[in-house]
Symmetry: C2
Subunit: 239 residues, 2 copies
């Protein structure tokens, strides 16, 4: 049991949800043309959050200190809250939320399998980067939802746990000089896999998407990648 | 992937927190004489809830269906909420919540190790029974806290997720005729280990506690066991 973390700081940095508005640039991502219909949006987003919760839980289980455990547990609780809010919206629209989520789980299960990581650092970086990237994606897609649904969806994805992760990694990397280069590599891997999930959500099948579609969706992907790069920068990692 | 669960019922039974008042008997547990001081109470309870969250997360990860996953995820979210509420109360009283929780984790870590279970059914029964038993214990101990703290502590432990678990097991056992006898055994094992945790919380060391102390604490233990028996009954299991 490596207790590096709470020995460093007397007070645990509190888990805090931060508004994306505070950190996000003015650039808007316009994905309306590629946005899924409401039921598909809700089912995909709900399953992504359930999977994100599982990843966070795994990170809690292997966390090197109680403080790290409880910061991650806070993030896991927030993921459950998002999942349940999305399921509540879905329940009002379909008979069987399980069947709906099942339709879209393939690509998410694959992503989860590929991004488990070798240890707590990698698993936690996955939570930070994938949670951020997919949260950004669903926030952008919320704009394309019908008027009665869009504000609720935007509110669900209005906050993120970036600050918690930055505090966790700053402490961890101070004690592990060789960690940054390993995590920089791992971060690139996560981005690649997250982009495949995004393409699936947007129904952009690599084999079929034509050049015109690719050109239209490109600015949105660029912005998602830019936000990923900012997350890496916040840890001092090259993206 | 065994999808027995959501195929059975079109609508998922919603996760719901239920007031203990609704189900609990009039009998009050009086543990004032044995109750820990406020900081110890909060640190022990906060760590128990963190551990309970970990157990629930593990049950989510291996759940046989999406519906089971998301019901358990709801219970996990509630455990995180309790943990964080207790940590907030603790932070107002001590410098380092990690150090405080660390003092009392031994018996809880041991309990967690011994009650993992062989499969999802056993792991989930642990969550149901141990979460219920220890929640009852801390609710009873809340009455002995100072006036400025007792109501907050009582509120944290005022609800439980029993209904969710009963729904989960009712569906599971209908499909598994040999499951009840195995789970009945497992339930007895959990009770035995949970009683050891309770003795530690009450600072009743088996080797030292004298006969007079044992006699005074006996009614409280009887009531905790009676509530455990009711939980087993609700699943149709003999306690």
């Amino acid at each position: 049991m490596v207790d590096w973390f709470w020995r460093k700081r007397r007070k645990a940095p509190a888990f805090r949800l931060r508004s994306r508005e505070e950190t996000q640039p003015a650039a808007r991502i316009d994905l309306a043309e590629f946005a899924p219909q409401p039921v598909e949006y809700l089912a995909r987003a709900a399953y992504v959050e359930l999977s994100h919760f599982e990843d966070l839980s795994r990170a809690v289980a292997i966390a090197p200190s109680i403080v790290a455990k409880e910061m991650l547990a806070g993030a896991a609780g927030a993921a459950v809250d998002r999942h349940r809010a999305l399921v509540a919206l879905l329940e009002a629209r379909v008979d069987d939320v399980g069947v709906e989520m099942d339709r879209y789980r393939g690509v998410v299960d694959r992503f989860q399998r590929l991004t488990q990581g070798q240890d707590w650092y990698e698993a936690t970086l996955t939570c930070y980067l994938a949670g951020g990237f997919l949260g950004d994606l669903f926030l952008a897609l919320a704009d394309a939802l019908p008027r009665e649904l869009a504000p609720a969806a935007r509110e669900i994805f209005a906050t993120n746990a970036d600050e918690t992760f930055v505090a966790l990694f700053t402490a961890a990397m101070a004690d592990n000089p060789r960690l940054p280069s390993r995590l920089a590599l791992w971060g690139r891997r996560i981005l690649g896999d997250a982009l495949l999930v995004a393409r699936d959500v947007l129904s952009l099948n690599a084999a079929q998407a034509n050049a015109a579609e690719e050109a239209r969706v490109e600015p949105a992907f660029s912005e998602l990648v830019a936000q990923h790069t900012r997350r890496m920068d916040a840890l001092g990692l090259s993206a």
